[in-house]
């Protein structure tokens, strides 16, 4: 088990390296020259050449790659071509905003989603139908559109919640609870949007997985043993149903980060997604590379974690030979 995990972890590191390498050459293949964007359209050809030399863009690609990689691994992430700010400072300033948004919405949507799905699977009937309509609609709503609609209602019509940024203009002058409240008010709409669109999928998945397990022989045996319905649901149905849900958790991380890019664009949320979009537009190579490396690492870590959790929840995947009985 441990050996498999170590092997997968090494494979994960190889994946990150591969992603970073692919990205490095891909962005240099793309048309657009950061030096040209920097010196402006009125610059003389000599100025352009000088600027390219200063940025090291005139050297052969493999050479540039080797330099970039050795510096990056030593923690020297360079500075932004467009703004001149150190990339590490930019990423570390933006990262908490994205992680708090994505992390909170992940926790909220999974907790609420698992509860709603479990209720649907055990109760059935009209409640199940109603909740199914709700979750399938939430699942189908595109995040940026839901965001716009929430802005329309809560910002333009009710004038209740702010739609832009992570803090008010006067945030620096607020103290104590006012400051917290200001943060929460700014967090409300983006967080609600991300949570709502994540919740539908999770609830639907949990419901389906629980219904799959419900008819398995071991559940019938658990019932026949005289366990209470709650024990049967929690210990025998939900636990088995959580295996595919855990796989889904690992899979949904990158999607969530991608979704966060749209949400950050709508709500002007100062996170990594916004930095990335701006950096791609400006061909800001060091920033794109740093953001890519960090998000690829996070995605690989998420998958590893989901895999470890899956193995923990499903002993059949751990054992060399399959155990009979449980279906």
């Amino acid at each position: 088990m441990l050996r498999t995990f170590v092997r997968r972890a090494l494979a994960g590191m190889a994946v990150v390296m591969g992603v970073v390498t692919l990205m490095f050459f891909l962005i240099r293949m793309a048309p657009g020259d950061p030096a040209l964007l920097l010196v402006g359209p009125t610059a003389t050809p000599e100025q352009l050449v000088a600027q390219r030399e200063a940025l090291g863009l005139d050297r052969p690609l493999p050479d540039q790659y080797a330099t970039w990689l050795s510096r990056f691994l030593r923690g020297d992430w360079g500075s932004s071509i467009a703004t001149g700010r150190p990339v590490r400072a930019m990423v570390s300033a933006a990262w908490p905003a994205t992680v708090s948004l994505v992390g909170l919405s992940l926790v909220l949507s999974y907790v609420i989603g698992i509860i709603v799905g479990a209720i649907q699977a055990t109760r059935g009937g009209r409640l199940d139908t109603t909740l199914s309509v709700v979750t399938v609609t939430l699942f189908a709503v595109p995040g940026y559109w839901l965001g716009l609609m929430l802005v329309m209602v809560f910002t333009y019509w009710m004038r209740a919640l702010p739609a832009f940024g992570a803090a008010g203009l006067d945030a620096d002058f607020l103290t104590g609870w006012d400051r917290v409240a200001d943060r929460l008010r700014h967090l409300a709409l983006p967080l609600t949007t991300l949570t709502l669109i994540g919740l539908g999928g999770t609830a639907r998945y949990v419901r389906g997985a629980m219904l799959d397990v419900r008819n398995a022989p071991h559940v019938a045996i658990a019932r026949a043993k005289g366990l209470s319905p709650l024990q049967v649901v929690v210990r025998h149905v939900l636990r088995n149903a959580l295996v595919p849900v855990l796989t889904l958790l690992g899979l949904s991380l990158p999607a969530l980060f991608s979704g966060a890019v749209f949400i950050e664009a709508i709500f002007a949320w100062p996170g990594v997604g916004r930095i990335m979009v701006e950096a791609v537009g400006a061909r800001d190579y060091p920033v794109i590379m740093a953001a890519t490396a960090v998000s690829a690492t996070l995605v690989v870590l998420g998958n590893l974690m989901a895999e470890a959790l899956t193995a923990w929840a499903d002993p059949r995947l751990r054992a060399a030979e399959p155990s009979a009985g449980a279906a």
Partner: protein, 289 residues
């Protein structure tokens, strides 16, 4: 194997499922409207008189006597017409992209789950690699490498969307391969690929069908998302995504411009999802919901 349920003419229980009926009705209506777009609306590129008809609310008639079911946008274009012509683009892109990703995902996932040795590890590594690529950055870059177009969106969505299906198929195949009925098939002398195709894959198809149905909706949403960011289908060609984007700036004085394509999008995605659910239940009667 039993005769396929779609081939059994007299079996009507599928059609009695309200989810299947709703899903098929909405999707058929959307497809019909998309195909017959020139019959039910005036081609938006042929509309004139920009100033006189701008920002008309839904259900109003302009001074030329033309009726606007869903109102007009800031260029005086009929929202209904743009919606119907946009459906052609959005639905087509979604369907083709999913077809591409299901084909790749099924092949990769099945092979990786069945041949667990070196082949499996290589394919899983490839899947993880593709999963770890930040999709949105890739899309941003590809859109700037080539001219953004519907074909590019199909390729990009197809090539970046197969991993989920591959992973689902892989874990399903792995679990199934350890089941007694597969072992007995092997013990009876059924060999390699035949075990996979005859005994394992038919049982692993349920999540694929569901994932594909969800994928259609998801692909339509992503196409809209890309077009919303300006990286997909380019205006003035209407797609639901760039329709929503064009309504974003007029949210205060003309909310219907962004609302109408969004509602259409949600309806179609809900329909695709419900149809997927119904198909799943029908394919797997043991787990009838």
């Amino acid at each position: 194997m039993e005769k396929h349920w779609l081939l059994r003419a007299r079996d009507s229980s599928f059609l009695r499922d309200p989810r299947a009926r709703f899903g098929m009705a909405v999707l058929l209506l959307a497809l019909l409207l998309a195909l017959c777009a020139p019959l039910v609306a005036v081609d938006p590129s042929l509309q004139r008189d920009i100033v006189a008809t701008r920002f008309l609310p839904p259900l109003s008639t302009d001074q030329h006597g033309t009726f606007h079911l869903l109102g007009t946008d800031r260029f005086g274009r009929d929202v209904w017409a743009r919606l119907v012509f946009g459906a052609r683009v959005s639905l087509g892109v979604g369907l083709l992209a999913v077809l591409l990703s299901v084909a790749i995902g099924l092949a990769v996932g099945a092979a990786a789950g069945f041949w667990q040795g070196r082949v499996g590890i290589t394919l899983l590594g490839l899947t993880d690699f593709a999963l770890a690529l930040p999709r949105v950055v890739l899309l941003l870059l590809l859109a700037s490498l080539w001219q953004p177009s519907a074909a590019l969106v199909i390729m990009v969505l197809g090539l970046t969307g197969w991993m989920t299906i591959a992973r689902l198929v892989h874990s399903e195949v792995r679990t199934l391969a350890a089941r007694p009925f597969v072992e007995s098939a092997v013990a009876l002398g059924v060999r390699g690929p035949r075990v996979l195709v005859r005994h394992i894959l038919p049982n692993a198809l349920t999540p694929v069908i569901v994932a594909a149905a969800l994928g259609v909706g998801n692909a339509i949403m992503l196409e809209a998302g890309l077009s919303f960011l300006g990286l997909g289908v380019q205006p003035p060609t209407p797609s639901w995504g760039n329709l929503i984007a064009s309504g974003r700036d007029t949210l205060v004085n003309a909310p219907w411009v962004a609302t109408a394509p969004g509602v259409a999008l949600v309806l179609v995605v809900v329909a695709a999802t419900l149809l997927g659910d119904a198909v799943r239940d029908r394919l797997d009667p043991a787990q009838r919901r």
